[in-house]
Amino acid sequence: MSARGHAVVAVAALACAAASPAVAGIEVSLVSYLSARPELRDGRALTAAPLLELVSVDAWGLSAPGVRDARVHVSTWGALGLLDLPQRGSVSGDVDLAYVEGRLLNDQLRLVAGRQLIAGGAARFLQLDGLSAEWSPARRLRVTAWGGAPVSARFNVRQGDAAAGGRVAWAPSWDSELGASYALVLDRGLVARSDAGVDGRWAPANALWITGHALWSAAESRIVEAELAPHWRALPSLELALSARKVAPDLLLPRSSILSVFAEPERDELGAIAVWEVRPELAVTADARAAWLSGSPGSDAGARLAAKVAPGTLVIGELRWLGAFDQGGYLRARVAASRKVTPKLVLAVDADAFWRDRAVNGVNHSAVASATASWAFAPEWLAVAELGAGTTPELAAEARGMVKLAWRWSVAASDRSGP
């Protein structure tokens, strides 16, 4: 965890502790997770056994003058590496979210400060340490602005040093909205992203809605990506969708990358999806896409069946075929089922296999399967155990296991009373 991560979690935890006597409600979640699985290291299969502890605290309805719906949230985790990997005994951890949120000015302004996810428009789901503000000056109008430091991903993938952006949106109805947005990301003093976008969702009828967006790179004067997707519910049980998508993959690289000057490929895609709820307990989905990467054709198609064959019993079957341009492809099949044996005990099995056109390590197939038991042995407690085995191009035979213990406790202080 970085020094910035320490600061974020310390401030949020202290805020949480200080605010506790005044909260309207609190939810605490603790998940302990221990797994053992083989991993390849320098051609040798070793056992990785991380012990994970995930902690989440959410307190809402904090009383503060002039602020409504104030909330503090912290999601964090710590991990201890066990067994015989090089990083055995290593300790790691990070903060996923840690923010304080509140509504001010008669609900017209919503402020979120801390580590948060920024979604919408050109932001492209940026994880940020910073501040975001959403202002609704009129009933259907919303203005959003955000800024801060992007959070580095696992394996220290850099996302930049600073980022800022915003979006203006007009929502004529609950399910329609038109927005214009901008995002700027700086990395080592260079512009990594400078994107302007428009996006929209229009529902001219209950059974018809169209989503679309386009993102323009101001730094390169090219379209980063654009998509248009109409959806039509032809019957209450039949839904159809089309999508046309255009992406410039090189523009998803930061402009500060040395690789950003080497090529300007374009990827175009056309797709269609149909879902048919044959009966309330039986749904079939089929989808297909054709794509062209700088003129080279590729495609993928799939089908999924989900059936509730009995009360508490779900069976899922999936079939997918992928053609990765001229790099070959695979055919994949999956069968999964879950059954609620008792109100507290759920058993599940999952088998997943694929066959590749081109072999890896002389192997062109992979098959893995697992069985899982979930037991809600007490109110707010859940225990999960999983055992799995398989054969993959990486490992001729592998076995893995996982146990998880989850505790979720919530209470609303305002309702704390009884007989």
Partner: protein
């Protein structure tokens, strides 16, 4: 190492302090009380006999459930015999009603006064709770049967009744159907109508998959959810190369450019790690080969960047720098949008144009 351990201890201590403080402030959880309504109805016990305070209740609260003294009016003998299990699900540690989060803003007092209700509880309570079915609450149709909600729906005003939808698993609204291939379709809704998503989903839900700091893929953390549409199911490692080649841009959105090289280096799958498992085909460096890297890079530079994005230290720079054997790598259309003046203003250019 010591720094990380210290950090972990600080985090645990602070988290523990917060939890202990909150625990103390909010009190402990209670057991459940059996409520065999059918027996009471059969015995012709009027609702009012047990639920008198509900006639004045402005909000939903456990405080308006019958107190023990109300039950003892008829069942005192059972208590004196020590038959705690008659009412308590945990007779070994009997307590009060379990907490139920208030999900709906609803005044019983106002409803019971309405002429449509006329103090008849069965107008809304179509089914009454039983010990085996304690969650028998009035369905939403019982509400919408009387109230007209079109205007609230159009304005997204769910909170006029629903206190907070974000903590409750509801079926998606028909206007935001989560059927079909919603794994692919949901970014469009989130991008263009995130406020609607936020009605039911908090950031924490998005973070399960989208937080770049997450310790493991969500499919590994939730193996019991075989129903969820997740990208990395099964032996994803065994097919990830094909997924990446089919749509490298989708990978790059979450994994950036050095995720691949870090993982390949750890597993000894890079040529510079000295392992024999070089992912490049034969002839990748030979201009006379059909597998030469030039056309492949022009077509899919994002895949190259997954491993070779080390700035000025990148292997590409060694050959393609000015005067290098690789020649000018810029595509013609790139040159049309960039002029030589950038060489003095953009420090990245200096890697190849010293």
């Amino acid at each position: 190492m010591r720094g990380r351990l210290r950090a972990a201890l600080v985090a645990v201590a602070l988290g523990g302090a917060a939890c202990a403080s909150l625990w103390g402030a909010l009190g402990r959880r209670a057991d459940a009380i059996k409520a065999p309504h059918a027996k009471h109805v059969a015995a012709k016990v009027d609702c009012l006999a047990c639920h008198e305070s509900i006639f004045d209740a402005e909000v939903l609260s456990e405080a308006d459930l019958p107190k023990e003294k109300v039950c003892l009016k008829c069942h005192r003998e059972e208590k004196e015999k020590g038959n705690c299990g008659m009412c308590h699900t945990e007779p070994g540690s009997p307590g009060t009603y379990p907490h139920q989060e208030r999900a709906v803003a609803m005044s019983h007092a106002k409803h019971l006064e309405l002429k449509e209700v006329n103090e008849d509880c069965r107008t809304c309570h179509l089914e009454l709770p039983e010990p085996a079915r304690p969650e028998a609450k009035p369905p939403m149709a019982a509400c919408t049967g009387c109230h007209q909600h079109e205007e609230q729906y159009a304005a997204g005003g769910c909170r006029s009744c629903h206190v907070d939808l974000s903590r409750f698993a509801l079926r998606p609204l028909s206007g935001f159907s989560h059927r079909a291939d919603y794994l692919r379709a949901h970014p469009a809704d989130a991008r263009a109508r995130g406020a609607a998503c936020a009605t039911c989903h908090e950031q924490t839900f998005c973070a399960e998959c989208h937080a770049r700091t997450a310790p493991a893929p969500v499919v590994a953390l939730l193996p019991e959810r075989v129903d969820r549409l997740l990208i990395h199911r099964g032996d994803f490692v065994g097919r990830h190369d094909l997924e990446a080649k089919a749509d490298s841009a989708t990978c790059a959105r979450c994994h950036g450019t050095s995720f691949c090289s870090e993982c390949h280096a750890t597993r000894g799958l890079t040529s510079f790690a000295g392992a024999p498992l070089d992912p490049h085909p034969q002839g990748f460096s030979d201009p006379r080969s059909a597998a030469f890297h030039g056309p492949a890079a022009r077509r899919d530079i994002a895949t190259c960047a997954a491993c070779h994005d080390q700035g000025a230290a990148s292997t590409c720079v060694q050959c393609h720098r000015v005067g290098g054997v690789g020649g000018n790598p810029h595509p013609a259309s790139w040159l049309a949008r960039h002029d030589r003046a950038e060489l003095s203003t953009n420090p990245m250019c200096l890697a190849c144009h010293p």
